[in-house]
Structure formats: structure tokens, C-alpha cells
Symmetry: D2
């Protein structure tokens, strides 16, 4: 009996980790590579608090963001919709002021913003990088956006296909949006809001050279809507910025250096998606040998948190490629099986094996094209 307790003590002392309460305040870094010349920053630019119709005190937002591995958030309470007003008198600047110090403490960039909340058209628009939200509290929607624009704000159209304003969930472009665009008062659109993707908005961003955004529009405590630590994440705008500062984020947003990251989808220009993909993925054994019509395995490691789903379309005479989707799982290594097509082929040849990454969208229905360079030495079966 005595021995058992000694063993137990040793086990408890050495093998068991510290108590659970110490374990909750941790940050899980997001692993997405930088792109050439820029840092990749994880941003959520549409967030509510109790100061409009959200459910948390503002300092919770940077805390949630820090834990999830984010870099930047914008607090964007509604100007016009204040259901808690009877208890919590309106003060459009307060939620930012309360959130900011916690952001500073945790090195989360907090941006002051507001949501101008009007009927469609023009619907709801966020203005961020404000000096003060108060001038946006106007009678006419145009005056509100003008007041934001006069402060140098970055202005984007929220959830353009939101059921509340588009009963058939299809985003529609109105003359008012053309007007804003022409006057330089519309800079981006949410291609994703919450878990909803708007292909029309995606197309408009490409055609009209607008910045693509993806935001949570979170009202609840984040963990009630997203299983953050369990293979789920909030929708986020990836911003490719010169450095990790408010100014750089602003510059990058106006320069349209963003991508949309939501669920398994990554959406953006090839300029950004291509390097994210190629820097995520490493081929461990780029030179392989195939014996006759046998099989060999190329080991592909994915260093990022994004899973890539590869579809091998074109045929190659000498090689049989997978006829099913190959998922390069996040932070794992998987096997690309290649099979010879002839028993007696010999020699060494380098192939550029083409594929489509079907969850990386460079257009509303266009997957990113890429290829792996693999050197194959063929050895006849008989050897």
C-alpha cells in the first residue's frame, strides 16, 4: 500500500500538469504565412458591444481577440440602433474608449469605428479609423457617411445580401452605392459576414476595385457563436500590412491588400493567395522513384492553419494522379500517391503536376491554380 502512494505522489508531482484555472487565459497563434513585402494580420472589423445591441462589455472584445490569435479589431457599434438606451445612455465613443486599454495591455490593435445603420439602400455601412463617432449621428444617411469621410474613414458596405434587407438573400447594387463609389465614399464590401458568403459582392469587389472584407459582426460573447478552439474560427479579413500598426492597416485597406478567410474558404487576388499557399506547403521528398506501375508517396507538409483541398484535373501520360480530392490538412503531413502507368518505363523526368486548390477562390467560382514540381525516376518492374 505504501508503495502505491509513493508512485501516486510521483505521478501527480511529475506527470500531471498544473491546475485548470491557470489554463484558460491563453492565446492560440494563427498560423498563416506573410506575403512578400507584407505582414499578414488577422482582423475583424465589425464588432458590437453592449453600447449598441451587443451583449458584452467592450473590454471583452480585445480579450477574445487575443485568445483567438487575432491582431486587429474594430469596435463598430450602431449609431442609430440602441436597444439598451434606457439603461445605458447613448455615448457613441465609449465602447472604443473602454476597449482600447485592454487592447493596449494585450497588444491587440483596437480601431474606433461605427456602423451607420439605415434602410436599404444604402443599408448598413461601417466607417472605421474615426476620430470621433459623434458627428455620424445625423438625420440623413449621406451626412453620416460624409462626416466619416471627412475624418478620413475607411467605409465599407456590410452584409450586402442580408436577409433582413434582401429577403431573397441576393445582394443588390443600388444607385446610392454608385453615388458613394463615385464620390470616393465607398472603399470596400463584406464578401463574408458571419458565416454567409455573397458571391455577388465578391464579383463587385473585383470589377469595381473595392476592398474585400470578412467580418464576424459578433453580438454575443464570441464563444457562443464560434467554437474557437475546436477547428472553428470567426470570419476574418486578412490584411497585408507593412507593419503591425493602425496606420499600416489603414494604408493596406485603402490599397486593397486583403483576403477573406471564412470557414474553409480563402478568397482574394492571386497575388496574395498564391504566396500564402506556396509558403504554407513544403514537399519533403521532391525526388521519388517509381518501380514499374507501382505507387510512390510524396510527403507534403502544411505549416498553416488553413486546409488546402487539391483537385488534380489534367492527365499526365506517365503518371496516374489521385482521382479524389487531396486535403492538405492544417499543420499536418499527408501523402500524395503517384502511380506509374507502364511496367517498363525508365529514366528520370521532372513534372509540374497541376492542380486546383478548390477552397482558395480567385473569383466567385474560380479556384487557385498551382502545381508541384516533382522529379520522378522510373525503374522498370523487372529490376
Amino acid at each position: 500500500m505504501q508503495r502505491r502512494y509513493v508512485a501516486l505522489f510521483l505521478s501527480l508531482f511529475f506527470l500531471l500538469p498544473v491546475l485548470a484555472q491557470d489554463r484558460t487565459r491563453t492565446r492560440i497563434p494563427i498560423r498563416i504565412p506573410d506575403v512578400p513585402g507584407y505582414k499578414t494580420l488577422a482582423c475583424d472589423l465589425h464588432i458590437h458591444t453592449v453600447f449598441s445591441d451587443g451583449s458584452v462589455w467592450p473590454d471583452i472584445r480585445p480579450e477574445e481577440a487575443w485568445r483567438e490569435g487575432m491582431d486587429v479589431i474594430a469596435i463598430t457599434d450602431h449609431i442609430e440602433y440602441l436597444p439598451h438606451k434606457a439603461d445605458l445612455p447613448a455615448n457613441h465613443n465609449r465602447s472604443f474608449e473602454i476597449a482600447k486599454p485592454r487592447g493596449d495591455q494585450l497588444d491587440i490593435i483596437v480601431i474606433r469605428g461605427s456602423e451607420v445603420t439605415r434602410d436599404m439602400p444604402p443599408g448598413h455601412l461601417n466607417a472605421i479609423f474615426l476620430d470621433s463617432s459623434i458627428p455620424l449621428d445625423t438625420e440623413e444617411w449621406f451626412d453620416a457617411l460624409k462626416a466619416a469621410h471627412d475624418q478620413g474613414a475607411f467605409i465599407f458596405w456590410n452584409h450586402p445580401g442580408w436577409k433582413g434587407q434582401q429577403p431573397d438573400k441576393v445582394a443588390r447594387w443600388y444607385p446610392e452605392h454608385s453615388q458613394l463609389l463615385e464620390q470616393g465614399m465607398l472603399h470596400g464590401i463584406e464578401v463574408v459576414n458571419e458565416r454567409q458568403y455573397y458571391p455577388e459582392a465578391h464579383r463587385w469587389c473585383i470589377e469595381k476595385k473595392l476592398t474585400m472584407l470578412s467580418n464576424s459582426d459578433i453580438h454575443n460573447p464570441l464563444n457562443l457563436d464560434y467554437k474557437v478552439r475546436q477547428a472553428d474560427h470567426r470570419p476574418m479579413t486578412l490584411v497585408f500590412a507593412q507593419d503591425r500598426s493602425v496606420e499600416s492597416v489603414k494604408e493596406a485597406l485603402f490599397a486593397r491588400r486583403t483576403a477573406v478567410y471564412s470557414g474553409a474558404l480563402l478568397i482574394g487576388e492571386e497575388t496574395f493567395l498564391k504566396p500564402i499557399f506556396t509558403r504554407s506547403v513544403h514537399i519533403k521528398n521532391p525526388a521519388v522513384t517509381i518501380k514499374g506501375d507501382g505507387r510512390t508517396y510524396v510527403q507534403i507538409r502544411n505549416y498553416s492553419d488553413i486546409e488546402y483541398e487539391l483537385e488534380f484535373g489534367d492527365e499526365i501520360v506517365e503518371l496516374e494522379l489521385p482521382d479524389e480530392i487531396l486535403a492538405l490538412q492544417a499543420n499536418r503531413t499527408v501523402l500524395l500517391a503517384l502511380r506509374g502507368t507502364s511496367e517498363d518505363r525508365s529514366g528520370t523526368k521532372t513534372f509540374a503536376i497541376p492542380f486546383t486548390v478548390r477552397n482558395l477562390l480567385v473569383g466567385p467560382d474560380i479556384g487557385l491554380k498551382s502545381e508541384f514540381e516533382i522529379e520522378v525516376t522510373f525503374v522498370p518492374e523487372e529490376e
Copy 2:
């Protein structure tokens, strides 16, 4: 290629579940048996909101409780400590009023309470089942508790060993507590607050016939402090009530029919712990055969969410019992290995195999004793 898509379509259509956003608003029922004559209700009777120093709008509390499988919560904002006062003017009754309708919608019982928040002694005390919190806003602590008592409130002492008031974390009993007790104004103590267990409070509850409580004292969104869906749970008071109603909860609290459930610990009187244990556990094969000094396995299924850790102390002449802790894991079946101690024993005998459930505490250092009745048929090795 065509075939692949058909297969893919079939797979997506049939094998893949619905979208993630539908999946977040779910309740995970807590599996703890009722005790004879009473329903077991999972209660958290110490909870804060933005209306004192908490971080969520009050209606989030019943939502969190529903999702975690709770039955009852009390909203107990501080009377005296109101750090958000400048933004959110004091109104001691509002947090309950806002929380209640969401509770009604989800069938979560919400109780009106307040935390009287004073220096030690007497420290912090919760009064629950109030008609109004406003009369508790008094100059003297005694008057506040008197005002609660006059409303028929159930009053308990919070976190008696809290570092903020007991720098060495040891709970201390003051004359003021004796005074309250004598005047019928102290009915219970938190034996657990957050993740802290106070053995002194446990002892006082037994000696002075006070109700044992275990509460979260949650300020943050719950999921920031507890990994609710991942083998973690908030500390809770199990209340053994005649039915699922406010009145029954109140009656049970005054009648001291509670247990403390925190982490792996379940604390309370044997009257309650024994039936919870025995009703959780089912022996699948209570009659076994042992051949010589070989081994047999008794299969024990635990139907509850509580893991039971059994320690087999006493020796039995005919049987070798496990010399390590046997964990009856929650919602699983495990094997109790029994070994014969003689090669040539024969005959059938029923044993009451005694053990201690070391994480079920009937006293500060006393595990619950129980036993399994097993019929063993011994067959000599040679047969």
C-alpha cells in the same frame, strides 16, 4: 471524372451533416441521477452581469446556463461595487428583470438576488429570492442583510477564504458570523467558489448545520473561464428539490438538501452522495467465474457525468483486488479485475467488495464508503 462527382455529390448529400452555424445553440444535458424523493437540479447561485462588475448583458446568463445543461441560476450583482456606474446608472433590480424573460423562453429558472459586499467581517454575502434588491442598499451591512431577511431571503456567505479578504486563503469565522447565525440570518456558505475549495467552510456547514453551496461567481462570459463542452464544467450547487420550481428550490435550500459539485469533487451528506453514486453505476455481470488464480473482469457502467475514483483498501482472503485507483469514467464502462488467490479453490460465494470513492467527500477528508456485491464461482485450475 464524372463518376467522382457523382460519388462526391452522394457523399455530401448523405454523409455530411448540416452547417456549422446551426450547431452552436444546443444544450448538453447534465447526467446526474435524482435522489429518492427529489429531483436533482443543477444550480449556480452567484452570478454577475454588466450591472455590477460583470462583463455580459444579463440575458446572456440564462443562455449560457441553458447550453451547459443547468436548471437554475441566481443573478447576484453587487449592491455596493458598481464600477460601470458612470456609463450604466445604478439600478439594482434591472439585471434580474432583463435576464428573466430569456430564462422563461428557455425554461431556466432565474432567481433574483444581490451580493452584499462589505469588508471582512462579515465579508460578502448573497441574498437570494428577493422581491426587490433596492432595500439592501443601506449604510450598515447589518441593515442590508436585515432588509433581505425581512423579504424571506436565503442568505449565504460567499468565498469565506477569498484571498482578497483572507490573505492566507484560510477561511476564518468571526463573531459577526455567529451573530448572523443566531439571528437566523445566515443559512449557507460557499464551500466552493470558482475553483477554490474551502475545507474550513465544509466543516462549518457540517457542525453548524448550514447549507453547502458551490457557485461560479462568474464575471466574464462563461466560456472564457470554463471549457464547458470539453470535460470541464462550472462549479454548481446540486439542489434536491421536490420539483423544478422556484419555491421548491427555496424550500430545499433552507432544508439543507444540497451537494457541492466542482471539478471532479462531489461534496455533501452521505444521504445524497450514496444514492447518486449507486444510481449512476450498474454492474453488468455481477456473477463471475474465476479459474484458479486467474483473473476475471466485472464490467461496471457509469451512466452519469461524474467520474468516480474507487480505492480498494481492505484485503479479501479469496480475492486479489486492484492496488491502483479504478476510475469509473463518466458515461463509460470499465473493467474491475478480480484475481483468485488460490489455484485450487472451488465453490460459489457472494462478496461485498468494499471501497472508498475518494472524490466523493462526506467530510473534509472523508471519502464515501460503498461496496459492490459480486458472486464469484471458483473453479480449480485443473478442471
Copy 3:
């Protein structure tokens, strides 16, 4: 410093569970209701070991089955395909003989079977409930099946659309199968093998009155192919048997009392699927009140491990039903939202709310129809 250690000790002693090594040998019971008159047994009737082309010693199979919560397995090594023969001389009966004692120890029913492994037609067929596998080792495939039939075996066609024998993965019926059927030597078909579902086989079972089966055909250690404890499970045949015995399993298989359970899919006759669904699901509040055109929530608890995906198709004049799939998640409670369609409706009415359970298939493309009975009291908005 001293205090810290005391706290640490208490925490370790009380809050921390037992060591990891004790925790691996556990069974996770499968929660699927019985059907009227019969027990629901979880069976996997197609399993390999090192004695043909599998990778584990036979006693591992009952161990894996016990841990996963299964009731019955059949060991069905190939007769003709013995790639380990040079190291492990052929003995068709040995794998069952080695597996059986571990099954007895853990109360897992182990059935003796063999896989007759021939070119298509007739392809691969399993014969189970054999007395000996040796007579099946014949020159002609028909003689092998005849030898099984002479022992009273239950014979079924394996993976009828297996790529190895059906390059386009479409199952094809040959005259040889008609011949077997006519002679009473074909009793069932695998509608699912591994993770592949064969709609043609599903149709044949219905048309030709054959028993539907779903088996793992496992060769690897089970956990290499299935993430057993993480929301994944091996494909299994649910057998509705009079009791938990070999004889009852056999009787039920010949009587076609089975269902196919694979991934999220449950396939079978309405006679079995309907009671499994209705016994799994409990409506907590079948009487609700709707105020005007507001919303109310019906709480639905699913007591089973099967997730049910409900699709509400038909319109009801008085009620707006969900227009998205409602997933009744396994072992959880979810909310069915009902909304009034008129502000001033009043009175009480009972509705049979119809839906399709789209992952419970009573035909290759036919979901199970069911309905919830809900009593709604309408209260006009103004009250």
C-alpha cells in the same frame, strides 16, 4: 510559499483524476434504442486478421469491438487470399479460435465466418455461423458456398460495387447471383462496406427481400481507419434480435431484421427506423404559447448517438416553420423555432408538424417521414 504547496497538494489530491494509463481500457456504450420486441445489437460481420490479409492478431478484434461499444463481430478471413502464408501457415479456423476467448472475457459475441474470395461474378461472399471454415477451401466457388450452406451458414455478398471488381464503382447483378438467390444460398448484401454506400444494393435488398448489411471489412487496427472516440464510428449492421445470443443474431439475420448504420446514415425499413427515431427523441415542452407573430421554442432532446437531420417541407397556415435543416444533435437538446403568422390569432390548436429525416433512408432516395405533435396556444399581440 508554504501555502501554495498546501493548495497544490489539495488540488492534486482532490481535483485531479487518476493516471492516464488507467484510462485507456474503457468501453463507450453505443446509445441506439431498442425496437418493439427486439434488442438492437451493434454488429460488424466482416473483419480480417493476420490469418489472411489483416494486420492484427485475432484477439485484438473483440478488444476493439468492446471498447467501441459493439455487441457482435464475425471473424471472416479470406479462404483464398493468404498473403502471410509463407510466415503463417494456412489454418482457416484459427483466427476465430484465438478471438473467441477474448470475446468471452469481455462479453462480445464472436461469430465464426469466412470470406469466399473469387473473381466477379460472383465476387466476394461472406459465410458466417460456420462450424468449420475448412470445407470452404474448394476449387470451385459454388462448392465453397455449398459447403457453407450445408452448415446452415448465413451468406451475403460483400461490397458489390467495389472498384477492384467494378471499375466504375457501380454494383452489377450477374446471373450467378440469381442462381445463388434461387437456391437459397444468398441471404444478404452489404449496402455499405467501409465508407462506401451502394444505392443499387440498397434497391436489390428491398426488391429481392435480402438482408441489408453494413460492415467495416477492417484490415488495419481499427483506430488507424476510424477515429472511434471522436464523433466517428465504424460502419455497422444493427441487428434487431430477441436476445443477446448467437442464435438470436442468426435468427434475426435470416428474418431480415437489420438496419445499416454508417457515418450519419441510417438505412432500413420504416418498421425499424421509425421506432428508433421516435424512441430517441423527446419533446420537453409539447405545449407552447405564441404571442402574435412572435417566436417560441420547442425543446427537443435526442437521447441517441445518431444525429437526425430534419427538413420541414410542407407549409402550415398558422405557423412559420424553419426553412433550414434542423439537426437534432446526438445526446443534446436543440430548439425548434416556431413563429406565428398573424398578429391577432387566438385560441389553442394541436398541430402534427410534418418533416423528413433526411439521413434516415427507407429507400435509396427516400427519407423517413415523421411528425411532431405540438399544441400551440395563440395569444394576440395586444394582450
Copy 4:
């Protein structure tokens, strides 16, 4: 209704990942830094198969190893203990021969070994890097080890405190071990076998300059004993090798460049543990500001899979350090809270904050000492 299906289709197509069956064959790389001049290789040098008393065909071992992120395994079936002999005739070299090709396919180094399995003393010893296992099949234990030694084998003592040979689980050193040591025929000891740590063996390795090993001694399919993908891992020997080759592993083992990694424990010489720790950990903000006696947070990111448990013992006049264990969780960022001890201190000072990493053992009861260099600027409260 139409819209719903479109949405559903889009969701399925874009948001949902590929099918489950594609997902099982993946490798989860182990993240442990290299040490200066050497690669860190994850090795398990004690493994069984069906060719002695194990339960899997030998090619499963490299498959399991690849998936778990290992680099090197040794197949070490017993010479003397062959319980499957009646079915599987003895052939000491076969398990290696079968395992090797799968290892080659997946780039897992497979080493040929054998376990000389004798009564205590000398107990069980592994000999690895053999040319052939057959010469080890001798009458006398010494001759077996001599035959291994003649082949240049690396020989180590297995589980020296194994209950089967040391009923009180205490490792005992016998004259036979001295004899082997003197004759250069004993090169290492298992400090950990399965989940058991032997402090005596740890001490002997330090005193007698023997190589420390940690091995699984796995008999079952690995996943039956270890929850590999769920914060559990097999015990492993970290070998610090010049490159990833059999020769380098051998050279490193003879040169005693190893560490023991088991559960949360990392055991070895400071030369190796120190760089593993310092290369794992990165301080994001090494210069912080403290206002008065307020708090500041240093963000510490742990890039490795090893959790480090820091204990801050010594006091610093100017800073209050955490009085609880700080766990640097694997692959996460945590906060080190520092508090000022005076309201009116000013100036900037660099501190070497000392701590013990209590789960990194440089001796049986000695944690690794290390320190963080932090520059603190003190600002008086009033500023």
C-alpha cells in the same frame, strides 16, 4: 425553398471539407527544437509485433510511427518468449524484414533489434543495430549479449523496475549489470518504459555515464494504449544526431546524446534540455512598463509541443512574481504577470527573472533552472 437549396449547395461545395476517409492517413509532426549541432530525432527503440508477443503485423509499426510524427523505431521482438510460436514458427529476423519496406516508403528509419528476455538478473535487455537476430538465440544470457556485442550492437537494460521482476517496483542493480558494464556490453537503461519512470535508473545513468532511454515497449496496436492525437504521446527517446540516418542515430546513442520524453516529463542533461527550452520559447515583449504597483503582462509564446511548467521561487525586490505555477502551454502564448512593489518607483532596469522548469529534470529531483531577461520601466503612479 429553391433558395434554400442554392444556399445549401454553396455551403456544401465551399465550406465543407473533403470526406472523412481521406483524412485518416496523416502525420502530425512533432514540434521539438533541434539542439546546437544536432537534429532532434523522435525514437522508440522497444517495440513488439506478432512475431513475439505483440499484436500487430510488423508493417503496422512504421505506419503508426509515421502518423505520430516519429523519426526512428526499432523492432525488438523477444528471442525467448514466443507465445504465437504454434501458429507462427519462430524466425527472429522476419519482423524487421517485414517492417523495413513500409518504413522506407514513409521515410521512417527502422532498426533491427531483439529483446534478450531472461530472469533477473540481468532481466530483459535490448540489442539494436543487429545484422542478424539469430545468433542471439543461445542457451546462456551472456552468450546472447556477447553475440549482439560482436555485431556492434547498442545494448540497454529494459524496464529495470518492472513489477514482473521487481515486485516492489524499485529498480535494483546486480553484479551481473556491473559485469556487463565493465565489459562494455551495457550502454544504456530505460529511464522510462511505458508510462513508468524509474528514478533509480535516472540516477544510474548520470553516475555510470549510461545512455538514458524512454520507450513504449508497445505490444498492442498503438492507439489502444495511447490517445495519440489527443494530447497524449508514446514515451520516446529524443536522439540528438548529426543527421537523419541509422549511422547517426547509432553514433549519438553510443555518445549518450539523448533525452527522455514521457508524458509531461523531459529528462536529460542540461546541455540538451536548456537549448530545447530556450529555442521553444519566445518573449514577444521583453521591454515592459509598470505603473506604480500595477500589473503588466509579458507575452511568452511556446513554439513546441512540450508544455513547460515554471515555478518562480526567488523574490525580487522591485517585482512581485507569480506565486502559482505558470504553464507555458504547447503551441500557445501565455501571460507572465509582473506587478510593481512600490507606487513611486521610477527608472528602467533589466531583470534576469529566475525560475525552475519543474517538468524538465536534470536529475531525479532537480528541475532545470533558467531565467527570462526582461527590461522594466517603472513609472510612478501619479504620472
